[in-house]
Symmetry: D2
Subunit: 314 residues, 4 copies
């Protein structure tokens, strides 16, 4: 089967269009409900927090692909100005202030529902050109996800269970790998979960340098997990890689076909470039792979993605 | 007493310098411990979430004071390009992508510990010019707060209890107002709490337009609450105003003297421009003014502030 | 006649489509040739230079209309860091460096040929959606004007000749005003000229504050000068106002109809927000209203406008 | 002699401090006077223009050294929006608009006088920390050079005369090379000239890719040309390399020692990353190596550098 056919077939089989009404702007985040959040909060047993965010700075992995650069953080005022300059403030008060310029998907992020289209169709079947214009996403902007993204987090450390801590580039994580990992962890994955899949790719980047972390070869979800991603009714999935799905992709001349299915057709929330290492080490230590996970995006009006600092609480 | 004396006296009386060791980079966030987070998680009874963030867009309140502008969000790729242009992607996949340029304190935010100095001294007594240079905050950058800022949130709706929903500009919220509000709510404020104080200023801005919301007159904490802020051992305080403390300030020719005491001397985490309205309405309805609050800043390396989407879960 | 009819009629009568071939990317700049530049160079009699640029900084007139802000200039390194910080450079060398974020049309500027469209048509009749995508102007990007924009400059100080130094807002400059001013100056306007029209609007803004300089009422060219602009075969026209044409526009519910004719149909290069005051004072003093004018835009690839520092040499 | 001594000696011997008064903000640009500009204008014989600017876009050579990135140019409105979206404009007018974020020295540029310091001293002996703060260069900001930078340009194509079109990396151009090249060209270099030195480094980058063009090894001026640069009383010098002087520098553990002498002590205007190839080809063809050169920087208030599109007219 070629990639065109594979995408078309998966899109038809796993579509959630209309599932939450014509006006839906949340996609699979609809699977999280209050009851699930209560259960998730009850998972907090120790009170430990884990930030799942990489840092935002000029030393990130971006190399300029499609103008995706690393963040540029600059100061408007500094302690040097406060002490040696003349800030013009009274009674000895001094201040520092700063600005940032960055692609919204330069580091740890959520892909918004307006990020990927299939043959001109956005989430819920809307025409992409009516949804995302130069003024941003007029319909499914990331601001709609400001409140709901908190619930039960589950870590599947596929890198540790299937690999020897780290999966090699090009390794396609299948449904079987996911199931086997869940079983090894003694955890189940289900409706409304915020699923974190660790491949170990970031661990390697940390050790060996970024290299082609942004856009290059990487382990990741197989295209053929689309059915599982649909069937499990998870609310979101996040990985420690640049692009969530395996790269090179599993078809000739293909580019991110799983994105093409799961964002516009499932309405699935995808997280990328998450740092799962500290959390994974803790889970390996205490054998507990579920936790409360809060990952509220920054509500940039009309954004098709958002930087995020996801917080796991065990 | 003039402002110089008042600041000096408060600084001397309420200093936390050295309290958590010479190398401390967390300030009052140290008051949050695992036990407090367990208690906080147990406050989740309904599973409802409330985003306490204003939106980040060009329609914000900033007017350019000290180069603080509103966010500029622009698209790198759009649905229009996907449908009518030539993105150069294969098999019908299309994409949208975006960038942002913004001051880190343009909208809902945390002030980092490197944001304010007193006579050239930063938090814990460090020389401000050794802490914050043009490369950013080398010591207390906001990235150090990536993990811990989650705990028990308490809302004091002073606007509703003391005012008639909204406090007027220039209204100085005193210890007595805070205590009376807590009593009216049937809630206590204590060690490690993340305190949210609603004045109603944002409610008014929403109704009447921004006007001078950014930097102009506003209700806010009285300078004389410094002792209470110290004594209660709260981890953080956030308001729905631009500048947390009352404006005009309570002294002649003064500029944010309470900042000058609580950031460098107490090491207090301050949140500004939070949107507390929906949460306050809910608290008024169910009479419950405590909740789990997660407000992890974006870990911009060396930043002296951070945009944040705080999430309250009741 | 309503604005739709007026635009359509002018577009039909004054079209330059095809005049310089199907592939043309220069428009009326084609009117400048080497001979004209030789003549222009010969106008340099004293060797005095006049910068016709406003400054680029946060104190500019922009108020955020369609995300047009003032420039934000921030430092990456400063003299404070060199002296009191640790830049890490050897043998006592220190440095300062800086960045800017700005709309390309925030201050003194050229409008590129891809800046304005008429009913979906760009310069030379091209479909606007094939010319300017999210990747910029793929055909007539401002970089094509990097070399040729140098020639004979002529100042028509309409503010001084027709007004009393300054024209009032809403004053429509007609062909008669232009002709009378040229006559008063003893200068002719013709093929390949870079025409500068001073209204005095900037002079007033300087005295009274920006107010609505950006986008508000202003004197400017009458819609009915389209024929004159076409017939004179000037290469470019620049004014000291935000929008070149008179505002409010001369039709009900209209927005910049003269732009709609002269950019896509004439291919005319338009300069806005130029500072003509010092030059005008000098011309009034010596009675010479022609000069060598060099106004090479910054070759930002694919840009639809460019900041520029035009230099007049007399 | 070590680099510290070499710099100190050269600084002492070639200092221009005080030469143009205590308040000077122009440095060697003072050497250009009206008479020289008249002579320069008389060099325009054919009326041909040559843009000496590289393009400003994401495909530039910057790799993030000290946060120097390539420009990020994004669209606010496009032809796609005009045709298929809804811009909300009346009577069929449509528009495109854009923004840029860039270091001021990311591409073809002038170094401002506040760009480099020697042991904490800026141009004319001023303390660097009083000159350049977080608010920019308070004294010698590039805006002071808005008007005067126009005069006689001279090209020394050292790459062609001494090399075989291109000099190798690490090649130190000496006074002898400069003199020999001038002689070969039949041109003299003197007071007030704007000197362009072509090494061929950009030609190579164009052929082979950027590689380490930004900051890596390159041919360039020898440290020992400081005396010649002083004695000739040129107003400015520009090269087709990233850093003007030879790299690696001619001393152990050194960084740009010639900058350290010529900017703060001579007050010399330095241009970098100029594109001299088309001009050089023309000069080789017609044997004329002098021309009118206009290179007015963008007057960004307080900037320590500026993008520029230098225009040579022959």
């Amino acid at each position: 089967m070629n990639v065109e056919q594979a995408v078309a077939e998966a899109a038809a089989k796993y579509s959630n269009w209309g599932r939450w009404g014509e006006d839906d702007v949340l996609g699979t985040v609809n699977f999280i409900d209050a009851a699930k959040r209560r259960t998730a909060a009850a998972l907090v047993r120790r009170g430990e927090t884990f930030s799942l965010s990489q840092r935002f700075d000029a030393d990130g992995p971006q190399k300029g692909w499609r103008r995706r650069t690393n963040p540029v953080h600059t100061m408007l005022d500094t302690g040097l100005d406060a002490v040696h300059g003349d800030q013009g403030f009274p009674h000895g008060i001094g201040g520092a202030d700063d600005v940032i310029a960055m692609p919204l998907q330069c580091s740890t992020q959520w892909d918004g529902l307006g990020h990927i289209f299939d043959h001109g169709r956005a989430w819920n079947g809307r025409p992409a050109d009516k949804v995302v214009t130069s003024e941003g996403d007029q319909v499914t902007g990331i601001e709609h996800l400001a409140a709901p993204v908190a619930g039960r987090g589950v870590l599947l450390d596929v890198g540790r269970v299937i690999g020897d801590g780290e999966l090699p580039d090009g390794f396609a994580i299948t449904e079987e790998h996911l199931t086997a990992t869940a079983e090894a962890h003694g955890v189940t994955v289900g409706r409304g979960d915020l699923l974190c899949v660790r491949t170990g790719r970031l661990t390697r980047a940390r050790r060996e340098g970024w290299g082609d972390y942004a856009g290059g070869p990487a382990p990741g979800l197989s295209f053929w997990t689309a059915g599982w991603l649909h069937r499990t009714e998870i609310a979101a999935i996040a990985t420690d890689t640049w692009g969530f799905e395996v790269r090179p992709n599993e078809f000739e001349d293909a580019f991110q076909p799983l994105h093409q299915v799961v964002i516009p057709h499932l309405g699935l929330l995808i997280g990328e470039m998450w740092d799962l290492d500290a959390l994974a080490a803790d889970c390996a230590a205490d054998g507990v792979y579920e936790f409360l996970l809060i990952a509220a995006p920054l509500p940039v009006t009309g954004a098709v993605g958002s930087p995020v600092n996801p917080l796991a609480i065990k």
